[in-house]
Symmetry: C2
Subunit: 143 residues, 2 copies
DNA sequence: CTTTGTGCAAACGATTTGCAGGATG
DNA sequence: CATCCTGCAAATCGTTTGCACAAAG
């Protein structure tokens, strides 16, 4: 196809020193196109929906490669599963306690923490907020 | 021994409708006595330091029972491990990126989030901040 | 052509489960 | 004494690893 978006992804991967393979490309492109921070099994199923694209082990290794160059980050909000996010700019997360769905929350929902209140000796480097609640879909089905 | 602290723990367990067993008591008492939010293997090793007190499966089931009545909560800050916390009053967490150590952070390090900035449809019920950084011990050993 | 990635299957570690015997209320 | 808990071992689930073959630069 050679369209702009495709090229941009290829360039990004190359600029980070990653070899561009169909599998790695597919993982990154898929993650960029969604904001629900999928776990590996979800991601893999989506990739292979129309014919085989990648294997489980390769998805794990692709994610590790992408993560090591800062194109992808892990999101830990659920027991037993690691989710992945291609949005590496700072943001918070909302998690629905019914369906487990996760979505992004604007960075300015809180001001910067007052790190002066940390115990002396601790050096803060970053922070992230997790909001728990109920999403609209679950709210309806509950009533 | 029948001292005050012991009785208080027994009363707490009973008041929540939990049967008081030596194993369950040991798990809860141990968690109450520490603030490092141990994982199950750590907790189990500590319990059985001086002779056998409980088994792995029982620790898991005790934690589940304690959690279901709100005496204990899970803490998810690390890949692959679930940690447990007997401090159920609201507080945030600090995690050292070097040693993985976790400690509590005062609730008032941030003001309440501006939930008006959430996407319409989301109902917030709670929130929690995670601060990442380096602890004093790691800072020294790094230099 | 040299290096790195892929994919299969086996290995692994944390957690869960089935079940027989034992303790609790 | 009926109910629930314990502990062992086997099962499960997400993730990692070893290795032979294939692809990328």
């Amino acid at each position: 196809m050679g369209n702009r978006a495709t090229d941009a992804i290829v360039q990004t991967l190359k600029s980070k020193g990653l070899r561009v393979t169909p599998q790695r490309y597919a993982v990154y492109a898929n993650l960029l196109g969604r904001t629900d921070h999928p776990a590996v099994d979800t991601l893999l199923a989506d990739l292979n929906r129309d014919g085989p694209v990648s294997s489980q082990a390769t998805v794990y290794s692709s994610l590790q490669a992408l993560q090591s160059v800062g194109l992808v980050r892990e999101v830990l909000l659920e027991e037993g599963v690691t989710r992945y996010d291609a949005n590496v700019s700072p943001h918070h997360h909302f998690r629905c306690r019914c369906c487990g769905q996760i979505e992004d929350v604007a960075w300015d929902i809180i001001p910067a923490p007052d790190f002066g209140k940390l115990r002396p000796g601790l050096t803060a480097e970053g922070y992230e907020l997790t909001v728990q609640g109920v999403c609209d879909r679950c709210q309806e089905s509950q009533v």
